[in-house]
């Protein structure tokens, strides 16, 4: 079997084509968002919101409502609850986040266990990109377009919000509104991404691409190109590997992303250990 056969054979199945499209779309929108999340320092918030949407998604399933609606409601609820617990006084923010999102996630697990359904709701938790339907694909596309559009239209404001919220406030922008916007897109993106890797691993796709890109460039504009490219390519490789090795697709996608991050970190000219080794091997006078 040639390499071309290896690449083309999966594409002869409709379900694989849908899986590739869904994965690419989710990888791109999650990677765009990740550029801001890593710079604002919201990795833990990404983890929290992406887990906390689970009960919302299950309730939406029970009511026959769109998943995104349930996710938005519970994403917002998580943020409000985290704020309330933190502001109550004694509990620090990281503890507040930990308490709120695990409790909501647990509620989701309980709801999954008691909800009779034809489709296996555990797919929401672990992802099931190989079993995605055309309707679900259409939903993913619509949400991804909305999320990416909002991010790209407001990209300069969001960069300023990440870099210097005080200045953003001083020139009359509403930092409260910008953070709500980012959280809204976070909840939408969680719905898109959980189709591929499941609720548990969503946070990986919301952090790893941005972190990888930030090692490669000092220009935010380039991060916005690098992160989605790397994320999409490594996710597609992950799907291929899961097909040929008959392994869990969600896990494989994240594993490849993590591997790419590791390689970039080790070889990064600015941050990697090779930098020190190279610096030592070049005579002092020649160094730039």
């Amino acid at each position: 079997m040639t390499l071309l056969d290896l690449l083309l054979e999966p594409l002869s199945y409709d379900f694989m084509v849908r899986a590739f499209v869904t994965t690419t779309v989710a990888a791109v929108v999650a990677a765009l968002l990740s550029c801001w999340l890593v710079l604002v320092g919201w990795s833990l918030m990404g983890d929290a919101v992406s887990h906390a949407v689970l009960p919302g998604v299950v309730i939406a399933y029970i009511l026959g409502a769109p998943f995104a609606l349930g996710a938005l409601v519970f994403g917002g609820l998580a943020v409000v609850l985290i704020g309330a617990v933190r502001d109550s006084g004694r509990v620090k923010e990281d503890a507040a986040i930990g308490i709120v999102f695990t409790t909501l996630f647990a509620l989701g697990l309980v709801l999954v266990s008691v909800t009779p359904s034809q489709t296996d709701l555990s797919h929401i938790i672990f992802g099931n990109v190989l079993g995605i339907s055309s309707v679900e694909l259409a939903q993913v596309l619509a949400l991804a377009v909305v999320g990416s559009t909002v991010l790209l239209v407001k990209r300069r404001d969001l960069v300023l919000f990440a870099f210097d919220p005080t200045h953003a406030h001083a020139i009359g922008l509403s930092t409260r509104r910008l953070s709500a916007l980012l959280l809204g897109v976070l909840a939408l993106t969680a719905v898109v991404t959980l189709q591929v890797v499941g609720v548990i691993l969503v946070v990986a796709m919301l952090i790893i691409p941005g972190a990888t890109a930030s090692l490669l460039t000092q220009r935010f504009g380039r991060m916005l190109v690098l992160a989605p490219t790397i994320s999409a390519l490594s996710s597609i490789i992950g799907i291929y590997l899961s097909y040929w090795l008959d392994a869990a697709s969600g896990g494989m996608v994240v594993l490849v992303q993590g591997a790419v991050f590791t390689v970039v970190l080790l070889t990064s000219p600015r941050y990697g250990p090779l930098r020190r080794w190279r610096a030592r091997s070049v005579p002092a006078g020649v160094r730039a």
Binding site: D157, F163, H167, H169, A170, I171, G172, R219, F220
Partner: protein, 246 residues
């Protein structure tokens, strides 16, 4: 330019500002001197409308802080520790954020904005370094980049939080000259500092703050030992006025 009347700010049980009344006119450089926790930052926040004023009122150029913000009248130069210097933005990008208040939905810069940014960079002598990542500048250059942002914004009131921390003597002189020029344009410059030696060259007047205004007047008078002793709540360190103090 600044009108504060009996401004009181409380954070929970903590009294941060206690009946601060203050007038600073246009075209003035005013030094705001006090220890850490004396309320300097809180006063800045009150001028930017970032804290709820428990009692009293603040006006900037005759407007409420909220309105002054929307008109882009207030520029802010953060202290060194408050900035992520590894952030992937160039010097030019940072200065351009000064224009955002003037721009539309996507903040896409127009030719006039690029011109304003180029002029601001020229004014602070950073034109050659415009494409550098912000963290690749020296301490003094970083401060000048943020001052350029205030210039590009055309702020009428410029707030600088500890601008001389981590800045070498030569850059300090450059920044002092620059701030004097901006005041000569009719802008008001409010500089918070617990570092006194730059004050005589820099400021027209000084405010000594310890939750309340202890003194407001000439720099020479502000630097008198008994005033400083009250401001810092202790004996004046012998080297506080010396050229080498930091």
């Amino acid at each position: 330019m600044i009108e504060a009347d009996d401004v009181t700010v409380r954070y929970g049980d903590v009294l941060a500002l206690d009946g601060v009344t203050l007038r600073v006119g246009a075209g003035t450089v005013c030094g705001l001197v006090g220890m850490n926790g004396s309320g300097k930052s809180t006063l800045f926040k009150a001028l930017m409308g970032m804290v709820d004023v428990t009692h009293g009122g603040v006006r900037v150029a005759g407007h409420t802080p909220a309105r002054a913000r929307r008109q882009g009248l207030v520029g802010y130069v953060p202290q060194t520790e408050a900035v992520d210097w590894g952030f992937p933005v160039s010097v030019h990008d940072v200065v351009m954020t000064g224009r955002y208040g003037h721009l539309g939905l996507t903040r896409r810069p127009r030719p006039a904005d690029r011109e304003a940014v180029a002029e601001a960079l020229d004014r602070v002598e950073l034109t050659d370094l415009a494409d550098r990542q912000i963290g690749q500048l020296s301490g003094g250059q970083r401060k000048r980049a943020f001052v350029a942002r205030g210039i590009a914004q055309d702020a009428r009131l410029l707030l600088l939080d500890e601008p001389f921390a981590g800045v070498d003597k030569r850059s300090e002189a450059t920044i002092v000259r620059l701030l004097r020029e901006l005041a000569a344009d009719g802008r008001t410059v409010l500089v918070s500092s617990h570092d006194l030696h730059a004050l005589p060259q820099l400021a027209d007047e000084a405010v000594l703050l310890l939750r309340r205004v202890l003194f407001h007047g000439s720099v020479a008078e502000a630097l008198e030992p008994d005033h400083l002793a009250r401001t810092f709540g202790l004996e004046v360190p012998p080297d506080a006025l010396g050229g080498e103090a930091s």
